[in-house]
């Protein structure tokens, strides 16, 4: 009598659920996918054990270069034995804690200010103080810190310095150029267009060449400008053109009504831009802007070509020492992972911002 109500739930076949089901629907759905999976697995089985053998089992970690040449595996000693030169370059050995502290301050400030809801006046002042402290640590000369010439700045601090200030200074310049390009004044518009298109049409390397071989000719006799600063200016000039194009995208995406509403409130040009247009336009272009900033960060590695010692060039000079020649794979993997960590976290940040912005748009 109650048999009907006691019908047991029919479970789906075991092959369609759980791990098996997942494997079936994600790896072996269809003939082509099955073949692809098998090929990938076979190739992986051939190379991954070899790689692990090389990188971890047969590898040496804390030896001299001589023992490295005898080992069959990877020679991570090239990284561990030279880590301080690799990271800090020619900065005086006993003062290398200073760039280290400066870098820690910079990175933690960046991580702290990642959320734009925290951006306010107080944070601005904290940044000013932090910048001053960092500059003091790098340069020295005050409070008993020994002064260190900027020509000695090298390694990772130089990379971070070039990219951070490159980004910081190019951003307002880029915004100004984008506004200039949208301007109704023909002369200003023409200058902006020429600047942006000219810079975007040439590789960064020509700008760096310009800064290193051509710029000294531009200066009156007796005046010299530090090489690091010249490279820095080249990077700023270059990045600004790319920022300008991104910002222009944001300005064009703005609704015409916003401009009109601002004007009908009686705001003048600067008020209109500062209070109404730019805050909205810059926000919607945060993701592509971060893209530009990531490229700027990677592009600082090009200063190798004009013989500045950023982290890539210190690595190269370690590899030129006879004791360590022949281990470039290991050394480059180490530097690559440093670049990767920075770039990857920036791109993850841009994705987070993007999803945040989309979420807000949906809420409306």
């Amino acid at each position: 009598m109650s048999t009907n109500s006691e019908v047991a739930d029919i479970k789906p076949p075991a092959i369609n659920v759980g791990v098996l089901g997942w494997v079936r629907s994600h790896l072996f759905n269809g003939a082509l996918n099955t073949i692809a999976t098998i090929v990938v697995l076979l190739v992986g089985m051939k190379f991954i054990p070899q790689f692990i053998q090389w990188a971890f089992i047969d590898s040496v970690w804390f030896t001299s270069g001589k023992e490295c040449h005898e080992a069959t595996g990877a020679c991570w000693s090239v990284v561990t034995q030279n880590i301080r030169f690799n990271v800090f370059g020619y900065y005086p050995y006993e003062h290398q804690w200073r760039p280290l502290v400066a870098m820690i301050i910079l990175v933690s400030m960046l991580v702290y200010s990642r959320d734009w809801k925290k951006w306010n006046r107080r944070l601005g002042y904290i940044w000013l103080v932090a910048l001053f402290v960092m500059g003091l640590l790098m340069k020295g000369g005050l409070f008993g810190l020994v002064s260190v010439e900027s020509t000695k700045w090298s390694g990772l601090p130089l990379t971070l310095l070039l990219s951070f200030f490159g980004i910081l200074a190019s951003y307002p310049l880029g915004v100004a150029l984008a506004l200039g390009r949208q301007s109704t004044m023909p002369v200003i518009k023409a200058f902006s267009v020429v600047y942006i298109e000219l810079i975007r049409g040439v590789p960064l390397i020509t700008m760096l060449f310009m800064s290193s071989v051509m710029f000294p000719l531009f200066l009156p006799e007796g005046v010299t400008i530090d090489k690091v600063l010249r490279a820095q200016v080249a990077i700023i000039i270059f990045t600004a053109a790319y920022v300008a194009e991104v910002v222009r995208g944001g300005l064009q995406a703005m609704d015409q009504g916003q401009y009109e509403a601002a004007e009908s409130l009686g705001l003048n040009y600067f008020q209109k831009m500062r209070l109404i247009i730019l805050p909205q336009a810059l926000k919607i272009v945060i993701p592509p802007t971060v893209g530009v900033l990531i490229s700027a960060f990677k592009d600082t590695s090009l200063v190798v070509i004009i013989a500045l010692y950023d982290i890539l060039n210190t690595t190269k000079s370690i590899l030129n020492v006879p004791e360590w020649t022949g281990f470039s794979t290991e050394a480059y993997i180490f530097v690559a992972s440093i670049y990767f960590v920075f770039c990857f976290s920036m791109s993850q940040y841009s994705r987070y911002v993007e999803s945040e912005l989309e979420y807000k748009a949906e809420e409306k």
Binding site: L27, I188, F209, L217, L219, S301, T329
Partner: protein, 393 residues
Amino acid sequence: MITTNENHAAKTRFWNDEKTRGIIYQVVTAMLVAFIGYYLISNVQDNMAKQSIASGFGFLEKEAAFEIGEKSIEYSAADSYGRALVVGVINTLKVSLVGMLLTTMLGTIVGVCTLSSNWLISKLGTIYVEIFQNIPVLLQLFFFYALFYEAFPGPRQALSPVAGLFISNRGIDFAVPAQHFAWSYVVAAFLAASVIAFFMTRWAKKRQEGTGQQFPSFWIGLGLLAGLPLLTWVVCGAPTELDIPALKGFNFQGGQNISPEFSALLFGLVLYTASFIAQIVRAGIQSISHGQSEAAMSIGLKTKHVLSLVIFPQALRVIIPPLTSQLLNLTKNSSLAVAIGYPDFVQVAGTTINQTGQAVEGVALMMLVYLTLSLLTSVFMNWYNKRIAIIER
């Protein structure tokens, strides 16, 4: 109306008038730029006079007195700077064109892979994109260049995965058909077949649009492209002799050599740029709404036709503009050749600057060449973009 305007004009001071102000801003900017320009140029002239550096492009005629490792046209140290620079431009073009082609193919494949329903394939695609995108291209170039010198054996122990192909630290050497008059005819036949196939496809398309009759232009075109050169080859006596690289002394003689510099540059540029193109392709395909493929399937199109007739033509419109800028980036990044010693234009120009001291002219030439290349690429891509754009009725 006129009177109110006049009244208005009378009331506002001239510096409060928007138009006058605009003119003042512009005049000030123009004067500022002109002044800075004048100041810099006069400094350059002073400095060059003091260091007794010649000015102008007269140096192009002078003897270069340096060798170039890789050249596609005749060049020796006795030739002029002008010719050396032309060799550099050709080398830049060579690596850029080959790179553009390969990177577009690789990028498309990886982009499609990241969308694969196979978890393993799509994860591999994503990992590829993340790794290669987030490492500076210069570092990748150094890496591949070092790989060639350190991981590959010398010519004597060269790796030979296939007969006639040798990989050593002197680059890649492979066998090519030995010189024979037939080969030039074969190339001519192939070109002729391409032209015929092109016009045939156009005719077939027109006929299908007019009458609805289909024509197997793809297969016939393929047959033409393969058949005509083959026929020519047989008619000319079917030469099979190969020019196989052979070890003589410390290096290979004969065959065709691709230098380690070129290979490393090409590898680095292609792998780096492909990671960006993969993302563009993925975004392009994802931008087509699902309804499109459902609609296409519901009118009975086969899967391959859904892709080739509905999805791809639409995705292409989203893909082309960012693709253009990536291909331009590849051309510009090819200037990093200077760091690994491939004699591209920037390297030759750099040597020229060092020897003559004429930095201004040298850098101006560099900018001119790259601007021209950028302009040509974007003109071509804009033309293509216009061709595939939606034709609104």
